[in-house]
C-alpha cells in the first residue's frame, strides 16, 4: 500500500460546519489507520475547521493547499487516519 495515494475522496463543498467535519470524520472511520483521505473543501470556515478538527481527533494533515483546478475557492486536504477512533467497529 502506497501511503501517499488517497484511498478515498470526499467532497464537502456543498456543506457548512459542523456537517463538513462530521462527514470527514465518518469517511475517516471507514478507511484504515495510516491510509489517506482526500477532502475537497471551500475556502474560509471549512478550510480552517476541518484540518484543525482532524488533528484534534488524532489524525494527521499531510497536505493542505488551494485546488483551483477543481473550482474557484476550492482547497484540497489529505488527512491520514490516526489510531483507534473509539467508535464501535463497523460490522
Amino acid at each position: 500500500m502506497n501511503p501517499l495515494v488517497p484511498v478515498a475522496r470526499l467532497d464537502v463543498r456543498a456543506h457548512a460546519c459542523p456537517v463538513t467535519w462530521v462527514k470527514a470524520r465518518i469517511a475517516l472511520s471507514r478507511i484504515g489507520e495510516g491510509e489517506v483521505l482526500e477532502v475537497l473543501l471551500r475556502d474560509g470556515e471549512p478550510r480552517e475547521n476541518v484540518p484543525r478538527s482532524a488533528e484534534e481527533d488524532g489524525h494527521r494533515v499531510m497536505r493542505l493547499e488551494p485546488a483551483p483546478e477543481e473550482g474557484e475557492g476550492t482547497w484540497r486536504a489529505w488527512l491520514v487516519r490516526g489510531a483507534s477512533m473509539e467508535d464501535r467497529a463497523w460490522p
Binding site: 456543506h15 472511520s29 464501535r88 467497529a89
Partner: protein, 233 residues
C-alpha cells in the same frame, strides 16, 4: 454512505462523540423501541429517543390526554381528550420526521423497551415481560422530583433485583423530565454500546445528585435461570 445527508445534518452534534459514530447511528436507526407504562417520564423519554434517531418508536399508552400530571412536556390543552398514544406519536414525528412513530399494536416486535411505569408494580410487571421476551430494557421510576433509571442489558440482573422501595412521594413533572431523559440516555448508551461498565446499573436521582449502583442478582431470582442467559445481542 449508510447515513443520508439529512441524517448527517440532523445528528451532526452526536456523531462527533467518541463511541457514537456512523455505526452507532445506524444501530439507533434500526432499533424498534416500545415505550410503555403510562408514567410521567414517558413523554420526555420518548422525545429524547426520537431526537437521537431511534428509527421506530411504538407508544404503548392507551389512555386519553387528561389535564395535570403527564401533560406539559409534549402535550398541551389543545390535546385534551385525544388518545395519548396517537398524540405522543405525532409529537415524536414533529420532533424528528425521520422517525417512524405509531401507537403500539399487539404483534409488533420491538428490539428494546423503555418502561415508564405509573407505579412500581406496573414497572415490575412489564420489566418481567421484557426479560421473558429476552429484550434489553431501561426502566424509569419517578419519585417526587427525582427517581431512578435501571438499565437491564440481556442476561443482566433483572429489574426486581435492582429495586428497593423509594420515598413514595407523588411524581412531579420535573421528576418525569429528569428521569425520562436519563432513561432515554441510558437506553441509547445501551443500544450503541457506548456505556462503560457497569452496564447493568441503577442510577438514582435524589435531591439533584445522581447516584449510580451496579445491579447484583438476588439469590434465587428467576432471572438467573437459563431463560435469562439470553441470545447474543
Amino acid at each position: 454512505m449508510a447515513l443520508s445527508d439529512a441524517e448527517v445534518g440532523r445528528y451532526a452534534r452526536q456523531l462527533l462523540l467518541p463511541g457514537m459514530g456512523e455505526a452507532a447511528q445506524v444501530i439507533l436507526r434500526e432499533a424498534r423501541v416500545r415505550v410503555t407504562g403510562g408514567g410521567i417520564a414517558l413523554a420526555p423519554a420518548m422525545y429524547y429517543l426520537a431526537a437521537a434517531g431511534v428509527g421506530t418508536l411504538w407508544i404503548d399508552d392507551p389512555d386519553e390526554v387528561k389535564p395535570g400530571a403527564g401533560a406539559g412536556f409534549a402535550l398541551g390543552p389543545a390535546d385534551l381528550g385525544r388518545p395519548r398514544g396517537a398524540a405522543l406519536a405525532e409529537f415524536a414525528r414533529r420532533a424528528n420526521g425521520l422517525v417512524v412513530a405509531d401507537p403500539f399494536r399487539p404483534g409488533s416486535r420491538p428490539t428494546a423497551l423503555l418502561i415508564c411505569g405509573a407505579s412500581l408494580d406496573v414497572s415490575r410487571a412489564i420489566a418481567d415481560e421484557a426479560r421473558l421476551l429476552q429484550l434489553p430494557h431501561v426502566v424509569a421510576d419517578v419519585d417526587g422530583q427525582g427517581g431512578a433509571a435501571t438499565s437491564v442489558p440481556l442476561g443482566a440482573p433483572c429489574y426486581s433485583c435492582a429495586t428497593r422501595p423509594g420515598l413514595g412521594a407523588a411524581p412531579t413533572a420535573e421528576g418525569g423530565a429528569t428521569v425520562g431523559a436519563l432513561a432515554a440516555l441510558e437506553l441509547i448508551l445501551l443500544l450503541t454500546g457506548a456505556s462503560l461498565e457497569p452496564r447493568a446499573r441503577r442510577i438514582e436521582v435524589f435531591r439533584g445528585t445522581p447516584l449510580m449502583r451496579a445491579t447484583t442478582r438476588q439469590p434465587g431470582c428467576a432471572c438467573a435461570g437459563p431463560a435469562a442467559a439470553g441470545l447474543a445481542p
